[in-house]
Symmetry: C2
Subunit: 292 residues, 2 copies
């Protein structure tokens, strides 16, 4: 089976064909007309002849209908019937899920973790995730299971884009970290600069990432207790900042004290920027798809 | 099929036979020799001839081996092979799970909620729970999924019996509430008295339950975001104290803001004190048993 895979994010869109293994990915900036970007990438790949199309897309969305309304894609924020439009244009079965869910699926399917129970996380502009429990993807009642970024880590903490308060995402997403550091005098303009400063030993940058690590440690402890997963695979840009990990581990050790929680592996995700595409293709494995 | 059911708690042991419907339950104080109590209750029921034996027991435990080490049963705290001992004595298949898990199973199976995704909770001397997702019981990697009492609701909150800090259980379990109220001058000796005082309008008792309601609201918001359940059924003594609910609902509304989280039904559990027995019997339904 040749599977066409698509990963639609706020910044860029990626596509590839998986035929046994994943072929080279093509990428373009999402731009102002994301549908044009999508078909510009897919048309030439589809012309080779493909059997099915798997899609990872930023949430929220109506699932499994695949009407997407990604927070970070203004043109689609009112709702865009991506699944139907793709099925119509390419005349193949289309399966679509949240991009962070696809990353979790990819880690379970190809990360080599060797466990049936895994929480996959993406800590980046937002904080998302997906749950594989008992070897199967958990969708939840509306396809929204895995919103680990909205575990409350500090009930009197900062306001969250979701409208709540003290969510993990409110503290640990990249833009919130930059804002927190800037409010204390940092000159960092974005997360990448802040990460570079931390590597150079800048104490404010180090403090900022330590704070993110604490929030992650609290949130992950809660998730482990509730889910009894054996692995938490943490992906996204923040997972690659070394100064996040010591406080993450210390906080986790303080809060995850039940015997079954102590030996959970909490580690950086193993697959790189292709993981969304890999997970999108894996949606055609019935372990990861329970709808229609 | 005639199913013998057993519910072993720190205070009392209950047993009944389910033959189509659940027969009248017999109960005894757990006492100093819980095994004698258990066989004293089961022997006469088993003598009628039964096909299988379902057991709800306080945790923690090795699951599915059924070696139990309940925190609230001192005689067994070092570990007691309850599943094997019962299988040997009664020569029928035995299935055993955490008592809060059995309550969640019972609510899903017979609560009439009409949903596939449900979190069941027991808020009492401890705070436990169980997860039914996609219509199936989620066990987790070691049989410990559902430990909702150890979601962190206040990272700088009180120490928890588990060794952590600020767990939902550390704040909202009955003995912690009584202690909190006593430290502020309350004369209440236990949770029942504290509940009675609240009903009479005692302001310290009302404050105490309002605080428990806030902790529950935060913890339940986190669980809903992570799991995307459609129903949270809250059982145990605390769920029956009216003054818990207004702050629970207000806090939940503040923190559960994602669209899919807003219409989740968070309500008192529908089954009464028999729910452990009902869930124990339901372990013979393959939706609720994935082991051996």
């Amino acid at each position: 089976m040749k599977t066409l895979c698509l990963d639609v994010g706020g910044t860029k869109v990626a596509a590839a064909v998986q035929d046994g293994t994943l072929g080279a990915a093509v990428r373009r900036p999402t731009g102002d007309d994301p549908w044009e970007t999508v078909i510009g990438l897919l048309d030439p790949l589809a012309a080779q002849g493909v059997d099915q199309l798997g899609v990872a897309c930023g949430g929220p969305m109506e699932w499994p209908a695949g009407v997407v309304a990604p927070l970070n894609i203004p043109a689609w924020r009112g709702g865009f019937p991506l699944r139907d439009r793709l099925a119509e244009r390419y005349a193949v079965p289309v399966r679509l899920h949240n991009d962070a869910v696809c990353v979790a699926v990819a880690e379970h399917a190809q990360g080599g973790w060797g466990v049936a129970d895994l929480l996959g996380m993406v800590v980046s502009t937002g904080v998302g995730g997906g749950l594989v429990l008992g070897g199967r993807l958990v969708d939840g009642g509306t396809g929204n299971a895995g919103h680990v970024g909205h575990i409350v880590v500090d009930p009197i903490g900062p306001l969250c884009p979701c409208g709540g308060r003290g969510c993990l995402e409110a503290v640990a997403r990249g833009p919130a970290l930059v804002e927190w550091a800037q409010a204390r005098g940092s000159k960092a303009r974005d997360g990448v600069e802040l990460g570079r400063l931390a590597l150079q030993g800048d104490s404010l940058a180090l403090q900022t990432f330590a704070r993110a690590g604490r929030a992650l440690g609290v949130g992950i402890a809660s998730a482990i207790h509730l889910l009894d997963v054996r692995v938490v695979a943490v992906g996204g840009g923040l997972s690659q900042v070394p100064s996040v990990w010591p406080t993450l581990r210390r906080t986790l050790a303080e809060h995850a004290r039940l015997s079954f929680a102590k030996d959970v592996r909490v580690e950086p995700a193993r697959l790189g920027q292709e993981s969304g595409l890999i997970g999108a293709a894996a949606l055609f494995d019935d372990r990861y798809w329970s709808a229609d």
